[in-house]
Each structure stands twice: as structure tokens, then as C-alpha cells.
């Protein structure tokens, strides 16, 4: 399958500041999470993809169209939701969405019909007839999302789509992204600081730090530990079971008073744990394979980046 986004040694300098430093990526279609600390170059990367800033060096393609040369074709096929609080002053919500649909090339009447349909999809009801300047932050986020999808683009680039939303709206927003990705076959590139959002909807994760790509992999692969680890939660104190397993030369870490983390490459261990628990006089409440937390992966990647630079 052709790459959704292919970048080769993309470098972007703002004067003496290097925002992107030789970014090379090849991303397959799907839902991609773009993570990175503040100033990592995430927004610059998204703007490069949209042709909003020119790269200093490097080349790339988005949906098979060349960066810098086929800007209009890229913009016609990408729905961009900026992080900034941007709006068109003086217009009502539905007028803004219709206006942007027309700028994307939809005929006037069709743009109005589609604008109403997208506002329904995004949960903007009677407020659509109000001036956008009176909208709350949450409403503006939903409006920006409607603007991004109104021309039915195959790729969505969302910059912090859930920031400023209450938990219910955040879940609804993620639900919309899920629907577009799973049912409509859209690819989505999400830049966010909210790691649970990435875990909830993304297939692939890109971690950027100091303008360089530190990690690119599928979320599933990333969250799998290097060696198999099992989490065991017990009824009562975990100490006796830990001692019993140590006698079997297993590596055991007591994570809390009732939880143990056991490294064991041997799958047969799982069968014997029940027996050891009975011998130790404890009951097992849960026995599950451990996963790496995305937060830990993120922090490790950023730290590695800092060490490499220093």
C-alpha cells in the first residue's frame, strides 16, 4: 500500500532556531498519534504537511502529492483542524462552514446542505445560527472539526482536537474520529498532549522531540514489554506469594501491597502460579499480561532525545 505520508530529511529553520531536524517518516493509512513535548516541532510539522510553511531542506509526499509543489492538491484532500482559536468574524457557525466548503470547491447550495449535515454530525444544534464570536471554547472546537470534514477529505490532520472539551464532549469527539476512521476509511493524524486520547484511538504513534523523530511504531508493538511480564493482584498481602515465586527463581517486583509484577518468559509459569498461591495461602484476584504505559514510552523517548543532544 502507498504511504499516506512520506517525508525525507525534512528540515525547517526559523532563523537560527531549527524547528524540524531531518525528519524522515513513512506512515501507512490509519489513525496516527503525533506526540511530543512543547516546542518539539509538532505544529510546524503539521503546517509543513499543509504547505503553510516552506521547508528549508528535504522533500516529501502527502497522499502521493509532492510537498511544496502540489500544495493545492494536498489542501483539497486534507481536512486541517488548527490548534489556534481561529474563526471568521461576523459570520454564524453555519455560514462559516458553508464558506469554507465553498472555498474547497463545493457548489453553493451543496455547501450549505453539507454544512448543516456536518454540524449535525458534530452536535452543533441551534447554536449554528449564532455568530461564531459568541461561541464557547468547546463549541469552537466542534465547529473547527466540522470545518475540517465538510469537504469529505480522505486525510484529517487534527491539532489538539480535544483540548478545551469537557469529558463528555471529549469522548464524543473521539467517537467521531473513530467513526470516520473505522466506518468511512479516513486516515487521521492527531497531534495531542493527551496520552489517553492516543491510546483510545490511534494505531500508530510518532514521538517527536527537539525537531527529531524519536519513535515511530504501531501502538500495539510499543506497548508490548521487551520480555513478558505478568501482573498478579491478590487477596490479602502479596509478600508470601512473592517469596514463593522467588524460590522458583522468578524475578518478582512488589508494585503495591497486593500487586506483583513477574517477569517470566515461560508460559507454563502461569499454570503454576495458582498452585503457588494456594501453597502461600493467598487468593488471586487478577492475572493479566503487563503492558508498557504510553506515558513511560513518551518520557523515555524524550529523555533519550535530551541525552543524545547533550
Amino acid at each position: 500500500m502507498d504511504a499516506l505520508i512520506a517525508l525525507d530529511q525534512i528540515t525547517k529553520d526559523y532563523g537560527t532556531l531549527r524547528a524540524l531536524d531531518g525528519v524522515s517518516l513513512s506512515l501507512a493509512p490509519g489513525v496516527i498519534g503525533l506526540l511530543g513535548p512543547n516546542g518539539a516541532g509538532k505544529s510546524t510539522l503539521l503546517k509543513v504537511l499543509m504547505g503553510l510553511v516552506r521547508v528549508t531542506r528535504g522533500s516529501g509526499e502527502v497522499l502521493g502529492w509532492r510537498l511544496g509543489k502540489d500544495v493545492r492538491q494536498i489542501r483539497a484532500r486534507v481536512g486541517y483542524m488548527p490548534e489556534d482559536d481561529c474563526y471568521l468574524a461576523g459570520l454564524a457557525g453555519v455560514e462559516v462552514v458553508r464558506f469554507l466548503a465553498r472555498l474547497s470547491g463545493l457548489p453553493s447550495i451543496e455547501a450549505l446542505r453539507r454544512a448543516h449535515e456536518m454540524l449535525d454530525f458534530c452536535g452543533i444544534e441551534e447554536e449554528r445560527y449564532r455568530n461564531v464570536e459568541t461561541y464557547s471554547t468547546g463549541m469552537r472546537q466542534k465547529l473547527k472539526f466540522a470545518e475540517a470534514i465538510v469537504h469529505d477529505p480522505p486525510l484529517l490532520i487534527l491539532d489538539e482536537p480535544t483540548s478545551g472539551l469537557d469529558p463528555e464532549e471529549r469522548e464524543a469527539m473521539l467517537g467521531r474520529v473513530r467513526i470516520l476512521a473505522a466506518r468511512m476509511g479516513k486516515s487521521v493524524l492527531i497531534s495531542t498532549h493527551i496520552l489517553p486520547d492516543v491510546q483510545a484511538i490511534c494505531d500508530t504513534v510518532v514521538i517527536l522531540a527537539k525537531g527529531r523523530v524519536r519513535v515511530v511504531d504501531r501502538l500495539e508493538t510499543l506497548c508490548r514489554p521487551v520480555s513478558p511480564v505478568w501482573h498478579i493482584r491478590v487477596l490479602g498481602p502479596a509478600g508470601p506469594l512473592a517469596d514463593r515465586m522467588r524460590r522458583e527463581r522468578l524475578e518478582v517486583r512488589e508494585e503495591s501491597s497486593d500487586t506483583l509484577a513477574v517477569s517470566a518468559a515461560d508460559g507454563a509459569m502461569v499454570q503454576r502460579v495458582w498452585q503457588w498461591a494456594r501453597e502461600a495461602g493467598v487468593g488471586i484476584r487478577a492475572l493479566v499480561p503487563a503492558r508498557n504505559s504510553l506515558e513511560q514510552i513518551f518520557l523515555d523517548a524524550v529523555r533519550e532525545g535530551n541525552h543524545a543532544d547533550s
Binding site: 481561529c86 474563526y87 468574524a89 464558506f99 457548489p107 449535525d120
Partner: protein
């Protein structure tokens, strides 16, 4: 939830051609500007001078046809054109029409329309919305410029052409068209002289700030300062032959000088047309500095466009 909520549906229609995208911006801008009641009043006001100038044309043509009316009318109407070449008289009246009522109304109309056009987009960071679409900076600027041009057309070319048609209809002889056929073209030329540099300048000022009121102030200040400077410099040379050399310090007077050239006015007209000459507003060809004035307007337009394009690009740089 709306009762007709259909969820997300793909769209597979036919896109409109790229070339018309600027018009979407223009249409929306015009609609937003039209909400301003003062603008609507100014537009209404801009058609009133047509009545006055048309009356002068009517009187002139009647005098040409019936010389007996001359002695009757002259004592009653001070501004009446008495003699002279028809083309020159018509051109001069049209020049006066463009120079004074429409020139002043141009200031007011552009001052109502243009300041918000780019300043509001700077303030609301709307560039990110515009340029995330298949839209170039040229189309954006053309769209915004078209808003100003459309309203300026309504106060320059439209009433100017209406005035010409009215003049022809009120003339006793249809042959008047033969001697004035080029005036509609000159009207369009004079409208372009008023529209292009002023729209570029107004949008450049608008792009320099995120506050509409500062842009409005800047727009009027440029004209007021130019005018005041011109008046002070001119006061020191009351009857000098080169009094009009200070035209270049005032954009308003520079526009007037170029329009004078566009209408092809001649020196002799001062003798035959008392209206402008009496109040000392009609320069002679020797005094009109057409090339410096034309160069100044071109420079104003180019510098304004350079500022505008740079300002439109700058929010994307960070």
C-alpha cells in the same frame, strides 16, 4: 439531536473551478459590509451629485441649442457652463464629479469597508482557515480587493456612466454621442484610477493591525495629513505658476491630477467653464504633473501590495 441527522455521509460531487474561488471571499465580504447602515447611506448619497451635474449638462445643451436661453439662465445659475467645446465641457463636468463629491465619498466608503477586511482576519487568525483550503495568497488578496472595488464601482463607474447616459438622454440632439463617445471609456479609466491605488492602500493599512479602529484611523489620517500639508504649502505660493507642484504631497490631489489627464482636459477650459475655475480648483495642463503623479500612484499601489502580501504570509511563518 436533529430529527434529520443522517450521520456522516461521504460527498462525491463535482467541484467548481478554481478560478472562481476569490469570488467566494468577495461575496462574503460584500455581504458583511452591507450590514453597515452608514455604508448604505453613503452609497445613497453618492448618487445625489448625479442630479446636479446632469442639470448642468441639460442647461449647457439647451444653451447650445437655443441661444436665447443664455441671457435668461446665466444670472440665475452661477455654475452654468456658457460656451466651449462640448467634449471639453462634458469631460470637465465629469472630472468635477469624480474629483469632488465622488472623491470625498470614496474616502468615506473605503473607510467603512476596507479597515475590517484584513484586520479582522489577523485578529481572529483566520488565515489558518483560508490557507488550509486550496487557495493562494493572490486569490485571497483579489477576493478582499474585490469587496472594496465593488463598492467603489457603485460610487464611481456606475453613477458616472449613469450620468453620461442621462446627459445624452437630456440633450436635444442625439449627435452629442458622436462628440462624446470616448467619455464612457474615460469614466472607466478614472474609476480605475480611484479604485486600484486606494483599495491597495486601504487593505495594506488594514493588514498592519488587528484592530479595525486603528486601520480606520490610519486610513483617514493619511488623507487628512496629506491634505493639510498640501494646504499649508500651497498657502505660501498663492498665485505662483507652479502652485500645483505640491499636489504630490497629498494623495487626494495626486489622484485629481491623474484624473485630469484621464479626462483629457485642456487649459482653455478655464476660460469657458466658470464653475471650477472660479474657486481655483482647476489646474492648467502646465501645472498638472501627470508623470510624477502617475508614478506616485503606481508606487503607492506596488508598495501597498508588497506590504499586504507580506502581512498575509507572516502569520504562517511561526
Amino acid at each position: 439531536m436533529p430529527i434529520h441527522d443522517l450521520g456522516y455521509r461521504p460527498w462525491q460531487g463535482r467541484l467548481v473551478p478554481q478560478i472562481g474561488r476569490f469570488w467566494v471571499i468577495a461575496q462574503t465580504g460584500m455581504r458583511l459590509a452591507w450590514r453597515n447602515a452608514w455604508l448604505r447611506r453613503a452609497l445613497f448619497l453618492s448618487w445625489l451629485p448625479v442630479v446636479y451635474i446632469a442639470t448642468l449638462l441639460l442647461v449647457y445643451e439647451q444653451i447650445q441649442a437655443h441661444t436665447s436661453m443664455r441671457d435668461t439662465l446665466v444670472p440665475w445659475i452661477r455654475d452654468i457652463p456658457i460656451t466651449g467645446d462640448r467634449h471639453q465641457v462634458w469631460a470637465c463636468l465629469l472630472w468635477v464629479f469624480f474629483r469632488y463629491p465622488q472623491g470625498i465619498l470614496m474616502l468615506l466608503v473605503v473607510g467603512q469597508v476596507a479597515p475590517a477586511l484584513v484586520a479582522q482576519d489577523v485578529r481572529s487568525k483566520a488565515f489558518l482557515l483560508y490557507f488550509a483550503r486550496p487557495l493562494g495568497r493572490f486569490e485571497y488578496v483579489l477576493g478582499k480587493m474585490s469587496v472594496v472595488w465593488a463598492y467603489l464601482l457603485l460610487i464611481t463607474a456606475a453613477p458616472g456612466l449613469a450620468l453620461y447616459v442621462l446627459g445624452v438622454l437630456l440633450s436635444p440632439d442625439w449627435h452629442v454621442v458622436c462628440s462624446t463617445w470616448d467619455l464612457p471609456l474615460r469614466i472607466l479609466g478614472a474609476s480605475a484610477v480611484l479604485m486600484v491605488p486606494t483599495a491597495a492602500l486601504a487593505l495594506a493599512i488594514s493588514s498592519l493591525t488587528s484592530e479595525t479602529r486603528y486601520a480606520t484611523f490610519g486610513w483617514f489620517a493619511i488623507w487628512a495629513v496629506g491634505w493639510a500639508t498640501y494646504a499649508m504649502l500651497r498657502a505660501n505660493l498663492p498665485n505662483s505658476a507652479d502652485a500645483h507642484r505640491w499636489d504630490l504631497v497629498s494623495l487626494y490631489h495626486t489622484l485629481g491630477a491623474v484624473e485630469y489627464w484621464v479626462f483629457g482636459l485642456k487649459y482653455e477650459l478655464v476660460e469657458v467653464l466658470p464653475l471650477p475655475a472660479r474657486v481655483g480648483i482647476l489646474p492648467s495642463p502646465a501645472q498638472v504633473q501627470i508623470w510624477p503623479a502617475a508614478i506616485e500612484l503606481t508606487a503607492v499601489t506596488l508598495v501597498s501590495l508588497a506590504i499586504l502580501f507580506r502581512r498575509v504570509s507572516s502569520p504562517m511563518r511561526v
